[in-house]
Each structure stands twice: as structure tokens, then as C-alpha cells.
Assembly symmetry: C2
Homo-oligomer: 286 residues x 2
């Protein structure tokens, strides 16, 4: 789609998006792509509010389906994570039509619940990567530019640097993956390089989640685990005695899973793109 | 064992026990049972410290096996929860000998990891109930007295009041159950009344964990779910919009699991005993 204008629809299956995100993202897109400025449509649902969420479950599911099932959109981009995606995935999946399979999906954190289900259902352009809300971070424009470059051009420089197309990949927030194991959302991870990141959890919780993840028979069939950044770790009383990398190595060793080192992903502006599977374009599917 | 002195061994598979617990529990036991004072042996491991834990993984596993495999003990009582049990369960299970099957096991919270594995392995006197450390709570003597009365006499008045012996039961901390689903520790819960409690989590986390738990095919075969107390709930920004009971009812309804109301369990002095299974005595096993 490199010579045409890409049309991106933004929806919020979890928490509400700050209104300023829309104007800042649109301005950046115009600056980055003056000749072929992508059309970025923020679904009104992004700004709704209902308790913890960007609108109630039905509203959030309908907004996602509005964009996913609309032939005119090339990509569904997620406004932000937060919490709430798991509540709507099961109602979404049976209502996805053929146009939904021909577009890209980019997000991370809580959105992993939906990325998992889409990938499990055979969608071929699903990626762990920055959300629109990342523009509010320090240097967040770089994150948003990276998501746009992948959605518009599948630009290879946006990819997590270890990705060479030789192995299937998948990426998740640790807590989110832990909470989707054993549910109808869980994808087959056999042979994948599994990249994991975390934010705002205590060390003992990271340890407990990695016990859970690495005890899964499915996860034990991955080709290896890479650890992204674990940021804003909350205090552990007393000190846990191991850091995040030592914990990941410990559980990999116990589970017989190859430890493949650090991954360049995390809740920050440097968060690189990790396609699910081989991340090929979606034009081979109907 | 009602006319004999019961011998109870206390071990700490997770966090370290406060030293004052031993003297206070022993004094209470003497006061409650002047004629047949139970012999309560606090394994020295309870007072060890290594990072987050009451000693390193090997030390904690060995202490548990010391007591569990010793014919002279009638019960293994857990010092406290905290975190760390999941790290040692898999090394413990293959080393349990015949004497371990003839005794009672009582604890809750993080200890649920071990209760689950023991019950899965066919142990017949495993119970969710107060730990020694509960004596430090307000009115905590009542909790400790309850655990002792169950270990010494299987006193029926210690049981969660809905338990009538007609249905199998199981009880867990919500977060702990979520983190053992899909692991080798997960017991078959078909036909059980499943009682759940929580402490110190935000509403969105309770919601996410209940999504996970009620999405499990195993959990969907329970005869129903009862919700214990969810205490010290941490702030949810913005307000979640549903309380703990509404959340539990919501997920039960979505999963087709009968909602059976509230259970008298929780991280407090009122925490009643919930045997795993029919909770019969262990003398029918070898």
C-alpha cells in the first residue's frame, strides 16, 4: 500500500483515551507523511467512559467490529491498554467477517488478550507494538511513528532487532499472558520466540507469573524466551533477592526452555514491533 | 485421635514467620487443651530468612518433607502464606512417602499452591483454613483455635457453615488459583463447590482473575462458586463500577457456573475450615 493513503481506525477495547492523543497523533502523521498522509479515524468510542472502561462492554465490542469489518480500513490500531479487553474478546470473535482478516492490528499490554485471540484465529498481520496513547510518553512520537511505519509500510526497521524472519515470534505482557493461559484466547506458541515484558508489578508477582507461564505445556514448546523491559517495579518487602533477568533465567532453566536474552520491548517509547507468527502481509488470506 | 495428644508440625513454605507466633500459639494450645495439650513443633526453618522467603527453596522443601514424612506427626500446619510455595511444590511431590498421606494439612492464601497439589495427588485430609500467623490478627486466637480443633478433632463446628458433606468442596485465594491453572499443581474441580477469597488487590485485578478462572474448562465443571471476603481492596482509578460480588456474579453468569452466594472465608479471624473433597479422615488411605 506504499503509494496509496493508508486508512487506520483507532478503537479502545480497554481504558479510555485522553482526548489530546487524537490531535497530536494526527499532526505527527501529517508531518511524517506529507505526500501520503494516512487517514487516522478515531472512533468516538475511544472517548467514552463507563466505570473503569472506555464505554460498556457492548459499546467497546461494537466499535472494534465497526472498524475490523469495514473493508475501507487497512489497520485497526489500539488507543491504549489499561484493562478491559478480556471482557469483550469472546463476543467479538464469532462476529468477525472476511474484511477483518485483511488488515493489520497493533497494540500491546492489555490488548494482548485480543492479539492472542486474533492470532489463534489465523489472522496474519497481528503485532505487539506501540498504541496511540504512547504519544503522551517522553519521546513518545518515536513510538507512534514506529507503529505507523509498520501499519503503512511494514517497515523492517520497526521490528524488534532479533527478528530475522527465520522463526515465528509472539510478545506479551507477563501478567496478561498469565491470565489468558487456559482460556479460549490462548494461541499455540509451539516453536515461537516468546518475548515478555512487564510494568508496575512487584518482583514476587513477576516470579509468580513466570512460574505460571513456564509451567504451561504450551509455553514449554516455545523455541525460547526473551525478556523485555520490566519497568516501574513496585517495592518488594523484603527485597526479593533476584532481579527480573535472574528470575526469568531461573524459570527458563527449571522449565527446560531456552533463555535467549533480552528483547527490545516494554512499556516505553523504545517498544519495538513484534509480529505474531512470521508477520507476513495479510494478502494471502480471505 | 481424641484421647491422645495430637502432634502438629509447623513449616513455612513461603514467607518467614514472626518469632512471637510460636510462644503465643503454644500458650493458647495449652489453655484450650489442658488435659491433652497438643505437641506443636515449630520447625526451625520457620524462622529462617532468605530474600523474600523463609529460607531458600531447598531449605523450605526439606523442612516440609521432614514433617510430612515423619510418622510421629498427625498434622502439617502452615506458619503463614506470603509468597514462595509454588517454587518448591514440584520438588516436594515425588519425595512424599506413605506417612505423609496419613496426616492433615491446613493453610490458605499462597499455601493453596501446595494444598492443590496434595489434593490432586489424592491426599484426603487437606483443608483451607487459618495458619499459625493468624494469631497476630485482631481476635486471631479464634482463628488459631479453629485450625487446632479441626486438626485435633475434625470438629464439625469449625467448617464453613454451608458444608454439609453432601458435596465436594475446595477453596482458594483468587490470585493463587489463577496462577496454578494449567500447571501440574491443578486439581480436578469437577462437581466441587468452589469457594474463593481475595486480599489486597484492586477491583480490576479481581475482575481479570475471575475472567481467567471462570474461562477454565476445569473450573466450568464445578457445581458452583461461592465468594468469600475480598478485603483490603486497593484503590481502582477510576472507580471500577462494580463491587466484588457483582463481579463474581457477572463471570459466573457468563461462564454458565451456578452462583451460590457468599462463603465464610477470607484473610481474617473468621476464616472457616474448607476441606478439599469430602474432607473425610485420612485413615482409609495408606
Amino acid at each position: 500500500m506504499s503509494s496509496e493513503r493508508c486508512k487506520v481506525g483507532v478503537v479502545a477495547p480497554a481504558s479510555r483515551m485522553s482526548p489530546e492523543v487524537a490531535s497530536r497523533v494526527s499532526a505527527l502523521a501529517k508531518r511524517l507523511y506529507p505526500e501520503r498522509t494516512p487517514e487516522i479515524v478515531f472512533h468516538p468510542q475511544c472517548f467514552e467512559s463507563r466505570g473503569h472502561f472506555a464505554g460498556d462492554d457492548q459499546t467497546r465490542a461494537r466499535a472494534f467490529l465497526d472498524v475490523a469489518n469495514d473493508e475501507s480500513f487497512d489497520a485497526v490500531w489500539f488507543a491504549r491498554g489499561g484493562y478491559g479487553t478480556c471482557r469483550i474478546v469472546e463476543s467479538i470473535m464469532p462476529r468477525l467477517g472476511p474484511p477483518s482478516r485483511r488488515k493489520a492490528y497493533v497494540g500491546y499490554s492489555d490488548i494482548g488478550m485480543l492479539l492472542a485471540a486474533l492470532y489463534r484465529a489465523g489472522f496474519t498481520a497481528v503485532a505487539h507494538g506501540p498504541v496511540a496513547h504512547d504519544i503522551l510518553r517522553d519521546l513518545g512520537e518515536a513510538a507512534v511513528a514506529r507503529a505507523l511505519a509498520w501499519m503503512i509500510d511494514r517497515a523492517p526497521e520497526t521490528l524488534e532487532p532479533s527478528i530475522d524472519g527465520a522463526k515465528k515470534t509472539a510478545a506479551f505482557n507477563i501478567t496478561v499472558l498469565s491470565h489468558l493461559l487456559g482460556t479460549p484466547l490462548e494461541p499455540d506458541l509451539e516453536g515461537h520466540v516468546l518475548m515478555l515484558e512487564e510494568v508496575g508489578e512487584a518482583m514476587y508477582r513477576i516470579d509468580r507469573s513466570l512460574f505460571h507461564i513456564t509451567s504451561s505445556a504450551n509455553v514449554r514448546r516455545v523455541s525460547g524466551i526473551m525478556l523485555g523491559r520490566c519497568s516501574n517495579i513496585t517495592p518488594n518487602e523484603p527485597d526479593f533477592g533476584m532481579n527480573d533477568e535472574e528470575i526469568a533465567q531461573y524459570w527458563c532453566k527449571r522449565a527446560g526452555i531456552p533463555w535467549l536474552g533480552r528483547a527490545d520491548i516494554g512499556h516505553d517509547a523504545d517498544n519495538k514491533i513484534v509480529p505474531f507468527g512470521f508477520g507476513r502481509a495479510s494478502d494471502d488470506d480471505t
